[in-house]
């Protein structure tokens, strides 16, 4: 049997499930670290970042230089391949090489200049770089000039058209871009290699990202303590009962639009079938008949959201069991607190979404996203429900300001007081995975899932009302990739907001928590259901004028999102360019000594 004829469909299913599990777990691990790191950054500390793997200097130098040479070689080869036999290179390839080279150049210069500024000039090249940066107005202005040059190049290439001038521009951008790319890559890596010359070894730190890995390893090898009076079986399975549902609820969340392959559904799906990805799909939301649909969703369940709520409810059992099986009064109290809190907020959590379910008319998450892609994002349709759901979701993951099941001053660590090592880490970890999965659900229900404003199923389609401003066909595969990236970004942003809430709000008292759940969130979510029902009924009987007005508003909301995103990006650039307000004041002999040393330079500490 030929390997090309093997049916790889089961492998694809396993691959997408593995992707979702790994995504949830890795993001959960990252969040355990980000939470502490972010809390530190808010207080102008650095946070946990000292984990390091030491590498021999010669090895790092070799990797840097050889890597840069390899990248340059690959770029030149790609340039050779992309270059047409006669005539100027295409706009796209000219843009690609020119912009990439410009970006790498200014970025390398900024890195060198700001690095030399931060740790002090170490050699004559450092002095040259800092001097040059100072002459140009600092590293910020190099970045600004670089970005402006990028924008200018973009408009130059796009506007120069197909005439002789345009051909020259594209020719220069293509050739000089490839050369500059090589120069910047090799120059930057040579600089890095030379500047680490004196050091006996070089630490691989990845901006502190190794820290969660070190923490995980540590907890894995720690002693696992089961109290003598505990129920050994229940004590051991409770962390798994908490951990498992938090992770598997991600299964119903679609990470991207369905992929359509031009292979008949009955046929075996071979490696070659992967190349039959249909590039243009109409915006009906389904694949053409006679093609295979590959959903980017691990569990294609028709109960959709109900599965989420059923499993989220299972998490309660884990916490309650852990509290009961530990044979400790603090644990028992914590377990009871956790159970009653989660049961209370489970009600609000479900009811807040009823309004959204009524609007979308489905409980399948993928169909909800399709509804939002065709109309408006859920945050505009159900803003009130979003606030309620957000509060209930934080309470459900037992995080600050609702972290009543734990409390050092009251009941030690609550239901996981008697847990050590990896079992403790699993409780800790499942809390963060619950953050990830609730963020994923919120992104899917209220923020359009994988949908990006004005990105159709196979085109970028900018239209408000009946006016079409731009229509640019893009292959469906590229749009799906864009959508998956967008969805992951939305999840990360929502996780980040949840972490920020942790560092902002003080915690509730237990009675306040219960009052908020039963006497505020529950009635408000019921009101939301009633209100949504009334609006739906009114719109059903409304005239065509009202319907088209609603449609116009929906399009406007997309324009608002796109405009807000662009504005946010510009504001971000402006913020990054803002000069810090500094005043020098030598008020003590200590400061004078620091000044005599050329300022305070930080030294790297070892883990």
């Amino acid at each position: 049997m030929n390997i090309w004829d093997v049916n790889i469909w089961p492998l694809l299913i396993i691959a997408k499930s593995a992707f979702i599990v790994l995504f949830g777990m890795n993001l959960g691990v990252l969040l355990t670290w980000t939470d502490r790191r972010q809390g530190a950054m808010m207080q102008d500390r650095i946070g946990p970042n000292r984990a390091v793997i030491w590498l021999p200097t010669r090895m790092v130098q070799a990797i840097l230089v050889l890597g840069a040479l390899g990248a340059t070689g690959a770029t030149l080869l790609a340039a050779q391949a992309l270059r047409p036999e006669e005539g100027a290179p295409s706009t796209l390839s000219a843009l690609l090489f020119g912009e990439l080279a410009l970006f790498l150049s200014w970025f390398t210069m900024v890195l060198i200049a700001s690095g030399a500024h931060a740790r002090g000039a170490r050699n004559s090249f450092d002095r040259f770089a800092t001097g040059l940066a100072a002459a140009l107005g600092g590293a910020r202005f190099i970045a600004l000039a670089g970005m402006l040059a990028q924008v200018a190049l973009f408009f130059l290439i796009v506007a120069s058209g197909g005439g002789e001038f345009g051909e020259t521009v594209r020719e220069v951008s293509f050739g000089a871009g490839a050369a500059l790319f090589g120069l910047a890559a090799v120059g930057g890596s040579l600089y890095a290699a030379v500047s680490m010359h004196d050091e006996p070894r070089v630490g691989l730190r990845l901006a502190g990202l190794l820290h969660p890995a070190a923490d995980g390893l540590k907890t894995l090898f720690k002693e696992d303590i089961i109290p003598p009076g505990a129920d050994r079986l229940l004590h051991s399975i409770a962390p798994f009962i908490t951990f498992f549902p938090a992770l598997v609820v991600l299964g119903v969340v679609p990470f991207g639009d369905a992929l359509c392959f031009d292979t008949a559904p009955g046929q075996p799906f071979t490696v070659k079938s992967l190349s039959t990805l249909i590039s243009q799909v109409d915006s009906a939301g389904v694949c053409p008949t006679g093609s295979t649909t590959f959903k980017l969703q691990a569990l294609d369940l028709n109960v959709g959201l109900l599965y989420f709520f059923a499993l989220a409810g299972t998490g309660i059992v884990g916490a309650a069991l852990a509290g009961w099986a530990s044979d400790n009064k603090f644990s028992l109290l914590g377990g009871l607190r956790a159970a009653s809190q989660m049961v209370s907020y489970e009600v609000a959590l479900g009811l807040t979404l009823v309004g959204a379910l009524m609007v979308y008319g489905t409980i399948r998450v993928d169909e909800m996203i399709q509804w939002q892609a065709q109309n408006a994002w859920g945050i505009f349709v159900q803003p009130f429900a979003f606030v309620l759901f957000f509060a209930a979701a934080i309470a459900e993951s037992k995080r600050i300001p609702f972290d009543l099941p734990e409390g050092e001053s009251e009941i030690v660590a609550g239901y996981f007081t008697e847990y050590a090592g990896m079992k403790f880490a699993m409780f800790f970890f499942s809390e963060y995975i619950a953050v990830v999965s609730s963020s994923a659900l919120m992104a899917a229900i209220f923020f359009g899932g994988w949908h990006l404003p004005f990105v159709d199923r196979s085109a970028i389609h900018v239209a408000v009302g009946d006016t079409v401003y731009l229509h640019y066909a893009v292959s469906h595969g590229a749009i799906v990739v864009l959508g998956v990236l967008g969805f992951i970004l939305k999840i990360i942003a929502l996780c980040w907001v949840q972490l920020s809430i942790r560092w902002t709000l003080p915690r509730f008292r237990y009675d306040q928590l219960m009052r908020l759940g039963w006497r505020t969130l529950l009635p408000l979510s019921l009101l939301n259901v009633v209100g949504t029902g009334l609006v739906i009924l009114l719109l059903q009987g409304a005239s065509d004028t009202v319907a088209s007005a609603v449609r116009y508003l929906a399009n406007l909301s997309m324009a608002l999102l796109a405009g807000g995103g662009a504005l946010g990006f510009l504001l971000f650039i402006k913020f990054m360019m803002k000069a810090p307000n500094k005043k020098q004041l030598l008020s003590s002999t200590s400061a004078e000594y620091a000044q005599a040393r050329g300022g305070t330079h930080s030294r790297r500490m070892e883990a």
């Binding site: 972010q38 950054m41 808010m42 207080q43 102008d44 500390r45 650095i46 700001s114 690095g115 500024h117 931060a118 590293a139 910020r140 606030v387 907001v497 920020s500 809430i501 560092w503 902002t504 709000l505 913020f575 990054m576 810090p580 307000n581 500094k582 005043k583 020098q584 004041l585 030598l586 008020s587 003590s588 002999t589 200590s590 400061a591 000594y593 620091a594 000044q595 040393r597 300022g599 305070t600 330079h601 930080s602 030294r603 790297r604 500490m605």
Partner: protein, 215 residues
């Protein structure tokens, strides 16, 4: 009847204004958004300054706007001028120790951590008969209480605690025993091994003491 200026309960002072219970406060959400804005603002500003290397120098820009956290131990604040750090033995201009082994410091030491064994200069040396030199000069830094009495007691400005270095932790007791050679190698705040006070050697015209050639 006229109202009492002190109020009905006779209390002096203005009553504190109760916080307003406006709708926006009572509905939590606007206030939460405001609070989030503050924390996120701090996060973005600090992260940006950290990434772009724009953080305030915690020592020289200490009263400027923003937070000035010293990320100890990566960053350290130099100790002030009068800080009593690890001892050093100062040198004369010819590089020999200024110490004349008078034992004033070891006598003054309340912790008895200084041990000195005096040696005589060889026959023919101009200093022989006027002063001695420390054959051994040992300080147990683990026993030292950093009171600075030895520096006060020294008549020759030979022992000083102006290194600006705090006692360094070691993993064995032997390493805390600082012998003469190490103490002589310790630099002062200006990274030198001498002191500001000039020394007048026996035989020089500026030497204030009894001169056996003149008397």
């Amino acid at each position: 009847m006229k109202a009492s200026p002190l109020g009905p309960r006779g209390v002096v002072g203005t009553p504190l204004k109760r916080p307003d219970r406006t709708t926006s406060v009572q509905s939590y959400v606007p206030e939460i958004v405001k609070g989030l804005g503050i924390t996120m603002g701090h996060f973005f500003t600090n992260t940006k300054e950290m990434v772009l290397g724009q953080r305030n120098d915690p020592n020289t820009e200490a009263i400027a706007d923003g937070i000035n956290t010293v990320s100890y131990p990566e960053q350290q604040r130099p100790y002030p001028e009068r800080f009593r750090g690890v001892h050093r033995l100062t040198e004369r201009e010819d590089g020999s120790p200024r110490c004349v082994a008078c034992l004033c410091c070891s006598t003054a030491c309340p912790a008895q951590c200084i041990h000195i064994e005096a040696g005589e200069y060889p026959e023919g040396d101009k200093r022989r008969g006027y002063e001695r030199f420390p054959d051994k000069f040992v300080i147990d830094e683990l026993r030292c209480i950093f009171c600075g009495y030895c520096v006060e007691a020294c008549p020759c400005d030979a022992i000083r605690m102006d290194t600006g270095i705090h006692p360094v932790p070691y993993d064995s007791r032997e390493q805390f025993i600082y012998a003469k050679d190490l103490l002589l190698k310790m630099p002062g705040r200006k990274n030198d091994h001498v002191t500001e006070n000039p020394r007048h050697e026996p035989g020089e015209a500026t030497h204030p003491g009894i001169d056996r050639d003149r008397h």
